[in-house]
Symmetry: C2
Subunit: 571 residues, 2 copies
């Protein structure tokens, strides 16, 4: 039983499911379905795929995550940034609209699913921690800007391709003369409509006497309303004959389950994008899931999330879709609408499937500009520069990491940007730890505590130099310590005892031990005795019995206070 519950989190709630939960989940599912239909079509468009593929990428992934995912409210499916990254990755292997492009999308989803599953099975969840939140937020902001620019293509009715702002800017300048006025009018109207509903909708509907739930449903239905209105307008005005690009014919059939033939070459090209899309999707999903789980005192299991998202992506690939992950907007709506279990997702999947088979003829006349407008509005909330201000004072190197992420993503594109961002944050971390803070400390009068002589009123003795090293000692910083100590020797050689206070040294590796040994030897030659104090248990265990400990000219003290007292008494 426990095993089943571990592998299939669905078991935990399915066994105690009741009518009350059913009612709540059904309502949430209804609202989410209304959002899902235009979003899934729009994100397919963003990914460069036919609109029905967005529907394929919705139904089964919702069900797969419901079975394997650990969050009860996460709503999985096509998502803006993953769709953009899909377009970038596929653009390298095939032309939009070709069947190769479509099969590459399926392979990409499959590889993402496989990678996520593997991470979950090998319990490598900790690796995702190396994509820091500041880097992620810089990346999301930059991606949202790129997405908004990419939608100019549909909003203006001209070609604006390219993976970075420079390429898109150039195309925009070149093609600006060809803007289609009617298309632009449709796009702007939809944008205006969506903005107004977002701002005043709930207030207006409430004032009209509707209860909260109905007001919320109507507000969230605004994209569907825009879809219906613009389809009607197209029919009435025969707008497609005026050059307005429309979705066109598409027929949703039950997709042929299975994978296209996968060539090794294709895997080689798509593997890195698949990993990047997976990591972004995973980190986003987990951070959304954690926030919501905390509100209801539920828990999400970071390793199980790999399995859940992996299953969703594999389900997407088998039904002919593209990479999916949790959607922040739909998850919030799902949660706020009262969904209590993943049954809501299963109901939404049924809703989308029903809609898919009936709406084809209707959606024929949907202008692409309408979908583009919904994308622009949806992603506009992702653009957030406040993190720059927040990090400037508290954590300067986070600021640099975000800045590097933002700039490289805008200028070089999403893949390079993400890699540079993660690289920069790790690089900055290594750089800082390679130049550790080393403080000269003295006794705080009346206590047994030793503090930085630059920050506190402390007592010191000329013959004793006490240095507190604020970092583990390892290969990249040990020679920095060496240089630092030797600088004291040349500055002022009046001390005869050096105490290294190791309260913040959590580890000493082999390289650092070699260097400590040579520091000890050199100090010895100059008549200075080297002592250690406050060496932590695990560190002491590791260095016990080594050449360094055996050759150490001084003592190892449990406390700096003992060291200071003892040496002072012996002077």
């Amino acid at each position: 039983m426990q095993f089943i519950a571990n592998v299939f989190p669905i078991y935990a709630w399915a066994s105690t499911y009741n009518t009350n939960m059913f009612t709540r989940d059904l309502l949430a599912a209804f609202i989410v379905t209304i959002m899902l239909i235009p979003q899934s079509l729009a994100y397919a468009l963003l990914a460069g795929l036919p609109p029905e593929v967005g529907l394929y990428a919705t139904v089964l992934p919702l069900v797969a995550y419901a079975i394997f995912g650990s969050s009860r409210t996460l709503s999985v499916g096509p998502m803006a940034i993953a769709s953009l990254m899909t377009a970038v990755a596929l653009g390298e292997v095939a032309k939009q609209g070709s069947s190769d492009y479509l099969s590459a999308a399926i392979v990409l989803a499959f590889l993402s699913g496989l990678f996520l599953m593997l991470m979950g099975l090998l319990r490598l969840g900790f690796l995702a921690n190396f994509l820091s939140h500041p880097v992620l937020s810089g990346f999301i902001t930059a991606s949202a800007i790129i997405i908004a620019l990419s939608q100019l293509k549909h909003l203006l009715g001209i070609d604006v391709d390219g993976n970075n702002i420079i390429a898109m800017g150039k195309q925009l300048a070149v093609n600006a003369y060809g803007v289609n006025g009617v298309t632009l009018a449709i796009g702007l109207s939809v944008i205006l409509f969506l903005l107004l509903v977002r701002k005043y909708g709930e207030g207006l509907f409430s004032a009209m006497g509707l209860n909260n739930t109905s007001a919320q449903i109507l507000t969230k239905a605004s994209p569907i309303v825009a879809v219906i209105a613009t389809v009607a307008a197209t029919h009435v005005g025969a707008l497609d004959e005026l050059g307005v690009a429309i979705v066109g014919e598409f027929s949703v059939t039950i997709p042929e389950f299975g994978l296209p033939t996968i060539s090794f070459e294709l895997i080689k090209v798509l593997l890195l994008p698949a990993i990047l899309i997976s990591v972004i999707g995973y980190v986003e999903s987990v951070s959304i899931g954690k926030i919501l789980a905390a509100r209801r005192r539920e828990k999400i299991d970071v390793n199980q999330e790999f399995i859940g998202l992996g299953a969703a992506n594999i389900a997407s690939s088998f039904s002919g879709g593209f990479p999916v992950s949790a959607s922040l907007s739909r998850t919030s709506v799902n949660f706020d609408s009262g969904a209590v279990t993943q049954a809501a997702s299963i109901f939404a999947a049924i809703g989308v499937a029903l809609a898919a088979f009936t709406l084809g003829p209707f959606l024929y006349a949907l202008p692409n500009a309408t979908l583009a407008a919904t994308i622009v509005i949806a992603i506009s909330t992702l653009i957030d520069f406040s993190v720059f201000k927040k990090t400037w004072h508290t954590a300067r190197s986070d600021f640099y990491a975000i800045f590097i992420t933002l700039v490289t993503t805008l200028l070089l594109g999403v893949e390079a940007g993400l890699v540079c961002g993660v690289g920069a944050s790790i690089g900055l971390l290594l750089y800082r730890s390679s130049k550790p803070h080393i403080a000269e400390v003295g006794l705080v009068a009346g206590t047994q505590y030793f503090k930085n002589i630059r920050r506190h009123q402390v007592e010191t003795v000329r013959q004793i130099l006490s240095l507190r090293v604020d970092e583990s000692l390892y290969f990249a910083n040990a020679s920095y310590l060496e240089d630092h100590i030797y600088r004291y020797l040349s500055d002022d050689s009046k001390f005869s005892h050096l105490v290294l206070m190791c309260s913040a040294v959590n580890e000493i590796d082999y390289s650092a031990l070699e260097i400590l040994t040579s520091i000890n030897a050199r100090l010895c030659g100059l008549g200075v005795t080297l002592h250690l104090s406050e060496v932590k248990g695990p560190v002491m265990d590791a260095i016990d019995g080594t050449e360094f400990i055996e050759s150490l000219s001084g003592e190892i003290y449990l406390c700096q206070y003992d060291a200071y007292g003892d040496i002072k008494a012996g002077l």
Copy 2:
């Protein structure tokens, strides 16, 4: 004057040079020259280049380093591992023996020199610290094994090419039938002779009544003796007609100074190898230089070393050579023979130049097997597995890093091995810091010190949980802390105060602050007050005024002792 002394370290000793120093340097130069001639020929052979190129790579680099290098005794020139890496890099762009191969070698030396200069001018010396000593030693051992195997080609007179032990093993098995007996006999004789002289030489010569210096000179001259003996044997026995490969015709002329035309394509392929060769050469040189400088209380300047070695490589490329760096064996001999300044290197350069112009006709009949034998003997001292034993107990992750370096170098070749080794050591470092040690601490009776409750007899109070975090808090480990704390909540929720003792927290980044804020909120909801103690000055400066500090439910104490006392009094 200070400026000149900074840019040209030669100035420091040249201005006080005297007869006594001259005599010592001249003697050292004589011994080094005797070693240099066969070594430079042999390492050119190892690099896949004509023997005279080894001489070209010796003369000017010695002089260039003498002018710009900061060590007084480092002896620069062709070196075993750099030569192997040169052969690997050039093998990717041209065929051995072609003129393209030769120009590529020159370009490689030039790129190495440029890279080193750049590192020096940008003061990026700290980057070299990321190549840890254990990784370097694993890499050197593996490279030495590959070098020894590569020389089987010349020792057996058959083809044994390839960049890793598997490829070489296969070729060896396939070509074993073609072993040339005479070649093998020459090789084995030379190896035996060199081993015997190394082991008994100095003792024997001393017993014969020679003084130490003469005994040492004679011992170091053994490769030259082997050269003379085998040249004579080849002449007398017409061994080349028996299939013994010989050096053949080569004429040393004053090389045409200048660079070959450099294509962008070539630079693209050779850049990474050039960087790897430079880094290995630099780290090796600095560690040799540091050890010797310490013995004489001299100093080497890690940034100036980039300039010195960069100048040497550029000098090598301008005179038609290949990448050079400090040689451990020649530097030791130079030092032990009493060299006091780089004048010794200049004298050695003159010695090699003189020899180069006179020895051509004589070296015609030198068997390649003789040179291969001197290489094998020279590099045999580099193979050292003791570091495995030393690191197993003191620093397990160093052990893994060495192991990964050794295995990948042997199986995938030097370039992949070096990259994997550095990657592994950084990866292991990040992995460890992402799972920090967190200790529950209590008061050591009669003191103000708090120690791990698992290691010490300490006093605790049920309502107060004190946790000491033994690592800086940053994006990759903050959620680990979160999980760790929440585990205490589920285990045993009887405590009402949590004190995080931050004596080992040297930094808190933005991601960690976010997570601390959410921990605080969650604990608050459960009626647990969160306190901090022993927050370091720099950390306090950074987090002061942030949302976390403003929402913190408890206090920030200077000392854990105060925190404990204060909270206990308030219970």
